[in-house]
Symmetry: C2
Subunit: 123 residues, 2 copies
């Protein structure tokens, strides 16, 4: 894979967090049946279950502001993406810190999310 | 690979953070020439460069206390490990929050770290 991990990863994050904040159901197409998602320690697998989880989170619109973004090619293929940042739910005055990890795998000319882990970073 | 990701991952983390806090040079054997390490955005590759980086961090003894630990099998092989926790350098009264990601790949009956990304989570 000749694509630059940083370039691919940044484009992915911009796309992903825009939808995460405005229309999480639309993230469904990024996941496949084998994809895994762990949100605050709760695991689910497959695009359908992941979309159900994403759309049932206890907030709707939100704003994600990435702070650090790290990218590495994976020896076994694809790209590892590691983000720390802030998430602010609509109507909330306080932003919460979070960290998130993605493993992106190439499919044709695009990428799918095979692994996704999200954690809020409390005090 | 029939091994349970959580069991393998927890054993790895206990081993890793014990050495990270007491004898970082000994972590060298966990990395290979292809291994990548990104510490606070600074990238290096290969066991020698990673060990040099690890042993040049601006603190020696420290205590790592993992908070959350998430584990997922990677579709492309191995295990993804995602940790958030606290690191407290010897002689410092304040612990700092951090997040870290590892991709572990099986080699024989053991594992090597192919990817490692570390970030402190400042306010």
């Amino acid at each position: 894979m000749a694509q630059d991990p940083e370039q691919v990863g940044k484009a992915f994050l911009e796309y992903y967090y825009n939808l995460f904040g405005s229309n999480r159901a639309a993230l469904s197409s990024l996941y496949q049946d084998q994809s895994m998602f762990t949100f605050e320690g709760n695991k689910c697998q497959g695009a359908a279950a992941i979309t159900a989880k994403l759309t049932s989170l206890p907030f709707n619109q939100c704003k994600i502001t990435p702070g650090s973004m790290d990218f590495q090619p994976s020896i076994s293929g694809g790209i590892l993406v590691f983000v720390t940042g802030h998430v602010q739910a609509e109507g909330e005055s306080n932003a919460l810190k979070f960290s998130q990890v993605f493993h992106l795998m190439p499919v044709g000319t695009s990428f799918v999310v095979t692994n996704d882990m999200f954690r809020l970073n409390y005090g």
